[in-house]
Symmetry: C3
Subunit: 478 residues, 3 copies
């Protein structure tokens, strides 16, 4: 089982990429408290209720390819930073004219590794390099080959296959994110095998509820085919969604996920919904109309969640594909998503007026706009029974981001209106490192409260466990 | 006199809910400075220029009821948090079908006290439990009866009557908040008694200047009756307001308070005001029209403040009664107010263009939108002679909230464009605890400046006194 | 050469305005790291690529006048604070009826010096007072004459002339900010002299591209005269701008600077531009039209930067002359500029769609809206190759402001998408003090990363040098 190493003697620290006291406050009495708190949660199982790993990896259980294809090309944290400093995407293995030699890609990355100083990517990668691949010299142009070869060699070993790593990572639950059009055959294959892991799909309906999603109309048509419902009508469309949710639940799905551009919700009469649906499905709805449809669909999804118990996750506020040239050249995942100001107070009003006081509804809110933490999200979650706050998301999924989240949210919403940690990653090998950062930052925050006599250490021990394990299972009903 | 206990030996700390070093930075040299600064302000009188206690308590001087009615049912910080975690309001003594047994209510609260970990409510309550009621074990299901009985017994004693507590709390001034329709008979009764306390009304005209206030039109009619002015006309309405301000001033009133949804102000010609007034008073004004009327009324209030010297307090940016179901079922105070983004730079422009450079005008600004601290409020208060910044308000009236306020405001507006502390509370027994938190956080902030050689300790001692005592008296002309 | 003093023995510290450890974290191990990092950059040359000093000072090399004219009257940080506390501007030497006795002005300032406690102005001034004028008692009413006389005497000496100070300050580059209508004769005069300093103009086209700039239409006419182009036509106007940029480049200009009210950009067809230009140049464009013109001009400036290599600086988000009464009475520089919420994600879209992926374009973004650091600016700069982030600007050019900048920007954009420090000052004597604050705060930030094992100390030493020296030269192509 891979759990982060426990503190060791100073003599062992010289050749370490990651220090046992990393991320703990420097002040010695606070650090001592942080160590004790962390030690109590260090080896707890990882519950990962939201992420973007592929069920196919675990179904096939093939070895991962080389270092470049594992750590560089698919990781948009990495490719963004390199691109921002003038490295062409082709050199990173992206696009038509892409470089195909993984060692070359890896060298470019290694040479630019200094760009990640002070970023969470550096923390996650160094964790994996040391803890998984037993590397102990900093990645650079000089150590590039050593890294490439060491990683390549290990990836071939059976203990680096996806299922072995799942077990070694001490994962208790791992959720993927899936389109309503996905057959979930990989999930089925995992279930059919003898392997006893909990790998759960998540229902992400954006392709069939967002009129601006690529291929939306075709997707709605396919949804009809898959479900045997008439998705040309509003009623049939809703039935098709209900059926698909039910199919997902049968495969262990615990939650839905909604990546809308804004937090807007609407609650219109059925007549208007019918008419609006006709507009979007025929492709003659204008921008406001399409936004209103998305808004209505959040409320419809909430209604279905009240019925079927799926936990709703709302991830609003990202301007997708901001870089139009890149989007046109390389497609959806390279187009640079940039956060936008997000208004939850007005946006969520329609949904909350209808379902805000439902005890059986659970909605987990995320944000890319940190100004909403203390202004909107903590006051909302500190009042509405259906609301919980998800952990800091994406750009804020970092030590300082986690610190700001706890500092701005806790005093109004407390700890118990938050939903534990999500790693939200497509980089499977970064999962232990990401959870480790979250555990350390939560313990560092709690240690400060204890050191400043705002909380007893006995209580902090309880909270540390809750933030790491209990709350996430409760939030997602796992 | 109740002042927070001074630091004591470590052996006495074991049985304490609140530690003498609470809220001070853990780093030892900084903590030593914070202790010295705090010791210099610990026992200063409390000046409370803005709050929501009831003059009737001091007029009648009856004992407070039991622990549940004192600490749970009326405190929306408490009821919000419990409600957010699924506790029905009825169980907390709210609503038609409410639980009436205070011990039962108290037990529910005690069992959920862990929800308040990391919140200011916990700090305020533990302060009162220990310092006033001499309790020294943490509140929980197990200690619920001990608490309920101890508190109940003490509340019966004469030294726990409102007037005795006022004196024990070392209050020098206590302001209430009052409708223009209030007769102020309780304030008169206090004055008529021999008791020499300074309990002052505050003029809060929202019921008669906000067309969206429940009963607005009827309120304006009553204002006419009370003042003998024709409040069906714009001129008569303004006269009625002037007369009422004068009546308040005669009772010691120092300030007005304005709880508008936005910071918008307007400065329209009299003809337009007349017309607009007719619209709102006849109830046929639309939303924009009603907002414009409120905007105009802020400027009218400023004009009257220039004349009569009442200090203006503007508290904008709260979306009142966001939870419509609760509002409809339980009324105005349970409906969940949620902060909204607030724009002061454009909003206040009309008022400031007219009166911004008046040396006799004093306007104290509050916010629920912390993103405005460094962007708008500090630059405005660091320029306009009439503007001061009120302390962190409501959701931000907390250790981290106070820290953010000083960190974001001081470098642009300095200390001397701020207005000291407001406890803003309806929970009379929390007043010493709230002021204690503010004094500690200000001293902690100053101690950091001293430890980092950004300010001399002799100067910090002066500033600590100013923030605690001098500036609030100056700001409110007390 | 004036470089900040190195740490000295405790016995020497008693009579010091500024402490050798100022701004370093109090925690001893972190402070020790900060000292080592700072020591490595303390004496590096100052590169000042953006500011508001006058080339004329260096052309003429006359002595600076008295303390009041040097430190009080022209410094809007100083006059704002005093004005906010009721000091009339006339008393500070501003306006028709101004006080003309500099000693009187100085006394007023000295008496109010306590207002600057906790502000960066205090840090900058104390630095100059001690390091340049060898004063060691705090400025106050009592020490006012001592200060006035000491400063006055020294200013007369040859080593306090502008050129001597430039050398003593260890300046390597100093950029001024200049109108396209400026002849740059002072820059020419400096070049013509034997003095080997790098004093460079910056192209600030606001007077001829912002229709709301005072005298805009007349300015455009003059631009035509100066360049021999027909600035009554869109094509001629663009040619005139190109020619002027070329004239600036010939004088060493490295960058342009754009002080627009918003970050809005546009990219309209030539036909629409022609029409829009006719509207603004004839003075019959409405507010939206004028804003759209500014938006288009940012894109035009970007186009020209792609051609000629001038680095673009965009400084948006200031509501200029907010205090209309003061503006009307005292003019443009006294009218109080207040930051406004700024949207970069939508605002810059048109420009970035056209030029965002140009490797030869460099755009440095500044903000007065700190909520955009983590939400918009870091994600944008962490993706687009043409974007870099400028240092904290104006109200945020302060220890806490710098801390927030690094904390919110680094995790997404890294260090290498930032552009080093700008002092942005018109107060020449504050330059060393301002750079010293920036160096200390960057080292304090890095020391924390090292102490928390988020970065190796060897790497931090490299980053410290990069932030102080390397990145600014690279960003501005110096």
């Amino acid at each position: 089982m891979l759990v982060p190493i426990a503190p060791v003697g100073a003599s062992d620290l010289r050749n370490m990429l990651i220090h046992p006291d990393r991320l703990f406050p420097a002040e010695s009495s606070t650090r001592a408290i942080a160590r004790r708190l962390y030690e109590s949660v260090r080896a707890l199982p990882i519950v990962s209720p939201h992420g973007h790993t592929q069920a196919a990896w675990f179904a096939a259980n093939e070895p991962f390819p080389d270092a470049a294809q594992l750590f560089v090309t698919p990781d948009h944290y990495v490719t963004r930073m390199l691109y921002s400093q003038g490295v062409p995407l082709e050199v990173l293995g992206i696009g038509q004219a892409k470089v195909r030699d993984p060692r070359k890609i890896w060298h470019i990355f290694a040479k630019h590794y200094y760009l990640f100083r002070g970023t969470p990517t550096r923390l996650w990668l160094d964790f994996a390099f040391q803890e998984l691949f037993e590397l102990d010299k900093l990645l650079s142009g000089e150590t590039a080959d050593l890294y490439f070869d060491t990683i390549g060699e290990k990836l071939g070993a059976s203990e680096f296959r996806p299922r072995a790593l799942y077990e070694r990572f001490n994962l208790e639950v791992l959720a993927t994110t899936d389109s309503p059009l996905d057959s979930l055959s990989d999930h089925q294959a995992i279930r059919n095998s003898n392997w006893k892991a909990q790998i759960l799909p998540t229902f992400r309906p954006d392709p069939v509820v967002d009129p601006d999603f690529e291929g939306f109309r075709e997707n709605v048509r396919k949804l009809g085919e898959l479900t045997g419902e008439d998705t040309a009508s509003w009623a049939g469309y809703l039935k098709a969604l209900r059926k698909t949710r039910s199919r997902f639940r049968a495969m262990g799905c615990a939650a839905t996920d909604h990546g809308h551009p804004t937090a807007r919700t609407a609650n219109l009469p059925a007549v208007e919904c019918t008419e609006m649906f006709q507009g979007v499905v025929k492709g003659n709805a204008d921008a406001e109309h399409r936004e209103l449809f998305r808004a209505q669909m959040l409320t419809e999804m909430a209604r279905m969640s009240v019925e079927d118990g799926l936990v709703m996750q709302i991830h609003p506020g990202s301007a997708r594909n901001h870089n139009r040239q890149l989007y046109e050249r390389y497609g959806r995942d390279v187009g640079a998503d940039i956060p936008t100001p997000t208004n939850y107070v007005d946006g969520l009003r329609a949904l909350l007026e209808q379902f805000g006081n439902e005890r059986d509804l659970r909605i987990i809110l995320f944000t890319l706009d940190e100004s909403t933490y203390s202004r909107e999200l903590a006051p909302l979650a500190g009042h509405y029974p259906c609301l919980l706050l998800g952990p800091p998301w994406w750009f804020h999924d970092s030590p300082e981001g986690m610190k700001r989240f706890r500092e701005r949210v806790t005093e109004t919403a407390g700890f118990y209106n938050t939903a534990g940690f999500n790693d939200d990653t497509r980089a499977f090998l970064s999962i232990p490192g990401r959870h480790d950062v979250a555990r350390r930052m939560d313990c560092a925050f709690l240690a400060k409260l204890v050191a400043e006599h705002r909380l007893g250490e006995d209580e902090a021990l309880e909270v540390a466990r809750d933030l790491t394990y209990t709350l996430v299972k409760k939030a997602y009903r796992l």
